[in-house]
Amino acid sequence: MGEKILMKGAEVLGESAIKAGCRLFFGYPITPQNEAPSYMAKRLPEVGGVFVQAESEVAAINMLYGAAASGHRVMTSSSSPGISLMQEGISYIAGAQLPVVLVNVMRGGPGLGNIGPAQGDYFQSVKPGGNGDYHLITLAPMNLQEQIDLIYDAFELADEYRNPAMVLTDGLLGQIMEAVEFHREKDLASLPAKPWAATGINHRKKNLVSSFDLDYDRLEAINHQIQDKYRIVKEKEVRYESYFADDAEVILVAYGTTGRICKAVVDILRSEKYSVGLLRPISLWPFPEKILQQLAQKSTTKGFLVVELSAGQMVEDVKISVNGVKPVHFYGRMGGNVPSPKEIIDIINTIHWEGK
């Protein structure tokens, strides 16, 4: 460790999971994240793990369900249409309160779409996509080093809250290569105990892992327990990067790849003495509502511009947080297109910011 190596985004996903103590990967190929399962197919047997290429995404997510129920750290990675196929299983896993890590390398949609970078699955991840009242702890990296950290943290959070965690990335982050360092490696002996897991009865009470309960009151009580857990997550696990946002007149809000590009926009405009900042949500659920509320209240803040690779999804959560206190504008690209810093700067310049 400590040595910088040049790695491809999708391969980084795999190695980060191994460093986090994951030894089981079940998946089905789909571009632009094929290098993740192919890396795991080669690498997992070297560390005593198991890779299974399932017959479909539906099978893969149910393999995760089983592996998590027996107490193992387990991950899958897919891209938009594949993640759609997994929604039923994800809902069951959340209902059974099991820790798994999911990775969505988002591509152009809807439907089969294309293999370009996109952020059109925000709603599906944070609202989320399956049936019932549940949430995925959703983390969005902006570069490969942060991806390493967030995969590691996703495993820790999933175990701590017994809830599925999603690392939401995109086709650009999946395909780029960057120099990365692996700072942390989980000692397998230090993995958290899972006394609730179905490990085979040996002088203990029976453990039942299920999302099914015909008794209305019992199921309601389970739902309340899950919601109580979510209140703690919302209190403790919000993450964001505030970049020159404190005293900025114009505040950009963007995550993942667009967050990275907007950061470059801030650097360019700050060098031209333009008062622009960035609020980059890192946890998309729990969403950084409070900081956005605070920024909206500031007298210096004239308004917000949300930039996404979608028709406008996260912008709804920004509007809920800002609650009409300041104007919230939106700019989005779709179909695999990614805006350059210059394109975003042109948009900032066409908006009429109050008082300007």
Binding site: L6, A179, I261, D267, V338, K342
Partner: protein, 177 residues
């Protein structure tokens, strides 16, 4: 320092290899590097290009409007990317295959007969490494020895003969630019 490169050509001409070697050399010199490939589903034919950004500070946007250095390996790439060279930047043209000439006066254009020089070095397919040599001379993206080391690393699995041909190709391009 910071350097932005775009390399473009037909799939199979090794433009992604050019990008990876630049990124690898930069990392070897402890710089930051980002390599962003763009290609279709085909292994050969079709078009491929990649963007590489290296620098002493963390890399900002992977998406750029224009580039300081652009390598074009074929005619369609010349047409598409010649206008995107940053003012004062460099365009590297594989003149073995590209018949067009640039009329821009605000950039420096380097015509390198890459396929012919590669042929002399031992293999026509090393044309990409000839272009890399030209880029190395002008942009100094790394020390010469570091670029050589990257080539040795990347081609080691293909045998010593292939490594030597590519090292000769690098030298030919470096001397030509």
């Amino acid at each position: 320092m910071e350097m932005e490169l775009l390399a473009a050509g037909f799939g199979g001409q090794g433009v992604l290899m050019i990008g990876q070697l630049v990124a690898l050399s930069a990392v070897d010199e402890n710089k930051y590097a980002l390599f962003f490939p763009s290609y279709g589903p085909a292994m050969r034919g079709g078009t491929a290009n990649c963007t590489v950004i290296i620098g002493d500070n963390p890399i900002g946007s992977p998406i750029l409007n224009e580039h300081e250095h652009i390598i074009v390996m074929n005619n369609p790439s010349f047409t598409k990317f010649e206008p995107l060279v940053k003012k004062g930047g460099h365009l590297y043209v594989n003149s073995s295959l590209v018949s067009e000439k640039s009329t821009r006066t605000d950039i420096q254009v380097h015509y390198i007969e890459a396929n012919d020089l590669a042929e002399k070095a031992g293999a026509n397919v090393a044309a990409n490494i000839v272009m890399l040599g030209g880029l190395l001379k002008i942009s100094q993206f790394s020390a010469y020895a570091v670029a050589e080391k990257s080539i040795q690393k990347k081609f080691a699995s293909k045998g010593e003969k292939v490594v030597q041909i590519n090292l000769s190709a690098l030298k030919a391009g470096f001397e030509k630019a």
